[in-house]
């Protein structure tokens, strides 16, 4: 009786000017576990909480390296993210092959934006049920972009998407003015602390459920060189967690986190 008549396909507007299928896709992003991204003048950091479907299974991959200078973190349907990240890998490779140039970050983000938009305008298609944080470095420095199922892409200074990401966003907003001048290590710390904020009461960051990736503007013999995409996963995040996040039992509060930043 009160059935919504305007959500059968992603090409029909409701009388209020909404496209329900796109909004439902955005719900899928909110179901995904949280990912955080932030940039300084020299680095971009992506952090993510991984989930396992069951105790016996492995953890779902949350951060994908696209190229030496480019990586994405995903929240939502991982299989849709694979389609998008494979497309980004193709474009990235094509740019390297025909021009010998790493693809500019904005360019590849606009490409997936256009792809996502087209599914809101063609009958029989469905929107991607995934949100991405795209981090990368190009001639203009480090960048972070948010991609959402509507095809909207925005450049961000810091961003968090996924379940309970509001807590992480609050953390990022509170520390926003510090990020620009952060060192690599400080930025990683903020990335992990923002991630930690959004965790449920009984959860904590462990080597099993935490992923982190860094890309930076580096230099070699006075020349500008990209500090390649580096993913910290599994045992590798251990030292980072130890250095930056207090583990269970010590009951640290927000005050601690804020002190160590300055």
């Amino acid at each position: 009786m009160f059935r919504n008549n305007y959500d059968n396909d992603s090409v029909t507007f409701s009388p209020q000017g909404r496209i329900f299928q796109v909004e439902y896709a955005q719900e899928a992003v909110k179901q995904g576990s949280v990912v955080v991204g932030l940039v300084s003048k020299t680095h971009v950091v992506l952090t993510a909480v991984k989930r396992n479907a069951e105790e016996l299974s492995s953890y779902q991959k949350k951060i994908v390296g696209v190229d030496d200078h480019l990586g994405v973190a995903l929240a939502g349907l991982a299989s849709d993210a694979r389609v998008l990240s494979n497309f980004m890998k193709q474009q990235s490779l094509a740019s390297k092959l025909s021009y010998g140039r790493p693809i500019p970050v904005e360019r590849v983000v606009n490409m997936i934006g256009d792809r996502a938009q087209s599914s809101t305008q063609h009958y029989g298609k469905r929107p991607y049920g995934v949100g991405l944080l795209v981090g990368g470095v190009d001639d203009l420095g480090p960048h972070l972009f948010e991609f959402s199922p509507s095809g909207l892409t925005q450049e961000m200074l810091a961003c968090a998407i996924g379940a309970r990401s509001q807590m992480a966003r609050t953390y990022l907003e509170r520390h926003l003015d510090k990020f620009a001048d952060c060192s690599r290590e400080e930025l990683i710390k903020h990335g992990l602390l923002a991630l930690k904020e959004s965790l449920a009461q009984d959860k904590e960051l462990t080597v099993d459920n935490t992923s982190l990736a860094v890309i930076g503007v580096g230099s070699k013999e006075g020349k500008r060189r990209v500090e390649n995409f580096k993913m910290y996963d599994g045992q590798e995040v251990g030292p980072l967690l130890e250095a930056n996040v207090e583990t269970s039992g010590t009951g640290e509060g927000e005050g601690d986190a804020m002190e160590t930043d300055s």
Binding site: L97, S98, Y99, P104, E106
Partner: protein, 262 residues
Amino acid sequence: MNHYPQAWGRPRNDVYGPYDHSYTHSAMPKTHTQSPAVTGTSVLGVKFKDGVVIAADNLASYGSLARFTDVKRIRTFAPNTVIGFGGDVSDMQYLDRLLQTLEINENYLSSSEHSLNARNLHTYLSKVMYKRRSDFNPLWNMMLIAGFDEDEKPFLASADLLGTTFSSPTLATGFGAHLAQPLLRRLMPNDEESVKDVTKEQAVDAVRACMKVLFYRDARSMDKYSIAVITKDGVDLKEDEKLENQSWAFADQIRGYGTQVN
């Protein structure tokens, strides 16, 4: 008239004999694109400590006929890449349009100015040339690409109709490869290491001297030429230069040509 529409409007077979299809379908594929028609001769390029000089005369020959005397064979690709073309002029015009399209697309896709440098363009052009030669439909050109690489160092490289690439602190195509290149190499006794000791004036003087030598000895050359000096500040392209201080005194010494038998 009969009831076969495909025969309507055609000469009637019973009157004119069967239609000779060899008029429209030749037995062999097109081959006229495999040899040049209207050609430009040498292009010269020399690196110096903070840029590159490149020059080519303004002549387009039809065989041995000096057919067009006002053809600009040096084109710029903003902000500071310059490409000099030797070989077929119509293929040069095709490549020029290709580069124009590329420039427009790149600028359209970037929110700031595009990031293609001379090295990127050289990679791109060499792939275009190799693709076309692999189709047995080569673009009959030898090109010099001059500008700066990603480290803002002077860049000079060639690409030819086979897709072959070559890079050196001094380069010359066509007849210049035999006549000018040995003279230009005097500037660079230690190859790449010598570039830092060569001033803009030295490089320009050497190129102008070589243009003169080429005019003396290359029968497809002309005394009107274009010269471009590329520095970080941009491109200084002069398209209407005349050879100064010509001396034909040496001509007396030459024996064995034309009406002069010994």
